[in-house]
């Protein structure tokens, strides 16, 4: 029979109290004496080795695919940070005269583009920018989404108002907003982030709201109200922790979504200017030459890197959300 491994001090305590009795060597007659009865030992009996984050991490670690992608993701993240500091890492936009449209070779690992820029540096610079956009959007989305969503779901009076606002904003085309913003602000990374954040938090807010609606009237919330707990504390202590799972999921999905969105906005010609490489820009540039088989690497390298990134975020996010759901925890 597989034996249970004791994992921390609490369990050890338990094993000691049992072991104490066992370790003594009784004689045959002693066996039939009453054992010392300790009610507190009985209280301890139902103990399970549980801590929320511990279980979350443990179930995550058991998911091999997710761990693989986590490592990949961390690797990529680390590399994008480190890449510009590497020796001989050139400025991404440097033009090498005469080195136009070179296929991948020793000197230019991912080849060069039509004006002689090194795609390797361009792609990593693009990954940096795109990830920055993704992360920023995801953070804003999470923060705004949670605040709005919790208010929306918890404060009954706001429900009607927020629902209407949601319906309205959901129907104002994002393109219109992006275009108008590109008039008001200069096209650039921060503008892009701003434009995306403007609408993206709505979905998170709605998700949070639906979740809050489900848990709002659970007994433990009523209990808190009976105890006179302030509303903000209920939100922070009773609601937020229950949103961890869906929030991590949302955040992790928001990053690939934002990168995809960046590609889209670039596609319609409103993206970040070309002198700032982003994955969207690189894909757009690659698209113009994709039908030319000798040049299609200019599309495929950014596409592959982008896919690896979005897939890792997607899988890691999903698996983490699964792991964060106590339903999937071993008690």
């Amino acid at each position: 029979m597989p034996s249970f491994r004791f994992k921390d001090h609490k369990t050890q305590q338990l094993s000691q109290s049992v072991g104490e009795v066992l370790s003594r060597n009784y004689s045959e007659s002693e066996f039939f004496e009453f054992a010392p009865y300790d009610p507190t030992a009985g209280e301890r009996g139902g103990y399970s080795n549980y801590s929320y984050w511990g279980s979350t991490l443990r179930s995550f670690a058991q998911n091999k695919v997710a761990m693989f992608f986590l490592i990949l993701m961390v690797g990529i993240l680390a590399f994008t940070v480190v890449e510009p500091m590497l020796p001989y890492a050139p400025e991404a936009n440097t033009i090498y005269k005469g080195a136009t449209n070179l296929a991948p070779c020793k000197e230019y690992w991912f080849g060069t583009n039509s004006i002689g820029q090194d795609l390797w540096s361009q792609i990593w610079s693009g990954v940096r920018t795109s990830l920055l956009i993704g992360l920023a959007v995801a953070c804003v989305e999470a923060v705004l989404g949670v605040i709005m969503g919790v208010l929306w779901g918890y404060v009954r009076k706001l429900d009607f108002l927020f629902t209407e606002i949601y319906n309205i904003f959901d129907n104002v085309p994002q393109t219109l907003v992006v275009i108008i913003i590109s008039y008001i602000l200069r096209p650039g990374v921060s503008t892009m982030i701003f434009a995306m954040c403007l609408t993206s938090w709505l979905q998170t807010a709605r998700l949070v709201r639906n979740q809050v609606l489900i848990i709002r009237d659970r007994d433990y919330n009523l209990a808190s109200r009976c105890l006179g707990t302030a509303t903000w504390r209920i939100m922070v202590k009773n609601l937020l922790p229950y949103l961890v799972s869906i929030l991590t999921l949302r955040m992790a999905l928001a990053i690939p979504a934002a990168i995809g969105n960046e590609v889209f906005i670039t596609y319609i010609g409103l993206g970040v200017p070309l002198e700032i490489p982003t994955l969207g820009n690189l894909i757009k540039a690659g698209q113009t030459v994709m039908m030319e088989s000798t040049l299609s690497y200019q599309l495929f390298f950014p596409v592959i890197i982008l896919s690896i990134i979005t897939i890792s975020f997607y899988i890691v996010g999903n698996s983490f959300a699964d792991a964060a759901d106590p339903k999937n925890h071993v008690k």
Binding site: N167, I180, G269, S293, V303, Y314
Partner: protein, 316 residues
């Protein structure tokens, strides 16, 4: 029920009103150059006259009033820059059927493929190695995680380069529709398969399934007669929305294969600053998406006897 629908429609009207007003006002933030073809060479008088013709010289509230009074007469106005002097309704009416035909075909295919796929995946979760489920999940992850713009390109690249399929549609040649329909269908296949699988797995842990098993109902009949229907209920709600999305067309796919549909129309007219068309389109989109939600709810009520309209769920 009729009363409920009526009330909801009435409320939607208010929402529509606000949406259109916001869009209307946002549009007026654009620089006036965009309203003219040849601003560079126009005199001040010409510009002024042009603005007057477009009704842009009046203060915003007056413009709004004009717009709504026209709207009440069923007049959405005519295009200024997209197709000059052509009524907005005509522009939209010409494009909707195109997008819809392709969209509905792909949706049909997506349902025909996605739903069985979801069922097979759900069943596979009960087998030892869950191979079917893993394969299906890999597909879903790929489609959902990789931006559509990217896999559309890949499909076009391989489809035209290696399968030698045409790069643009031409009516009367069905092969030309393969790639765009495939591109459009993939997303929905993944979507429906994923949700159906999830709901089926959730449902098959419910007590009534256990009871059915205890009754001796064969596994296949359980998943067909009991689980599928229950799992399908929440999906029913999405179908009208999916249908409606086909009305909006797909910017990418339509532009990649030069499909003369709705996709990209909005982007196009926003970029050309064709206010009337933008307004008309936003109104159209908002109206149908609100309608889609309503139809989704009604469908839900039809397939699920527990849901009744009008009454708030009383107690249990």
């Amino acid at each position: 029920m009729a009363k409920y629908i009526f009330k909801r429609l009435l409320r939607s009207l208010l929402t529509l009103f606000i949406i259109v007003t916001i869009v209307f006002s946002l549009l007026r933030l654009m620089p006036i150059e965009g309203y003219f073809q040849n601003f560079e060479k126009m005199s001040a008088v010409q510009v002024e006259l042009g603005l007057k013709e477009l009704g842009l010289d009046k203060p915003l509230p007056a413009q709004l009033l004009d717009f709504y009074s026209d709207l009440l007469h069923g007049d959405l106005g005519v295009s200024n820059k997209y197709r000059r002097n052509v009524p907005v309704t005509k522009i939209i009416a010409e494009k909707v059927p195109v997008s819809m035909a392709i969209g509905l075909t792909s949706l049909g295919i997506a349902l025909a493929v996605g739903l069985p796929m979801g069922i097979l995946m759900a069943r596979s979760t009960r087998t030892k190695h869950k191979i079917g489920d893993k394969l299906g999940t890999a597909f879903i992850v790929l489609i959902q995680a990789v931006p559509a713009a990217v896999y559309y390109l890949v499909i076009q690249f391989y489809g035209t380069k290696y399968l030698d399929l045409p790069m643009q549609i031409s009516s009367g040649r069905p092969v030309t529709y393969i790639l765009p329909i495939l591109s459009l269908a993939l997303g929905n296949i993944a979507y429906y398969a994923m949700w159906l699988r999830r709901y089926m797995v959730d449902e098959s842990n419910k007590d009534y399934v256990k009871l059915a098993r205890a009754k001796g109902v064969p596994a296949s009949a359980i998943s067909r007669k009991h689980v599928f229907r229950n799992a399908f209920v929440p999906l029913v709600q999405f179908i009208p929305t999916s249908v409606i999305l086909t009305l909006m067309g797909s910017l990418y796919v339509e532009s990649l294969y030069s499909i003369p549909g709705m996709g990209g129309l909005l982007v196009n007219v926003i970029q050309r600053q064709d206010n009337t068309v933008v307004q008309g389109l936003v109104l159209f989109y908002a109206a149908i998406s609100i309608l889609g939600l309503l139809v989704g709810d009604i469908l839900m009520a039809i397939v699920d006897p527990r849901i009744t309209f009008g009454k708030k769920e009383g107690g249990r």
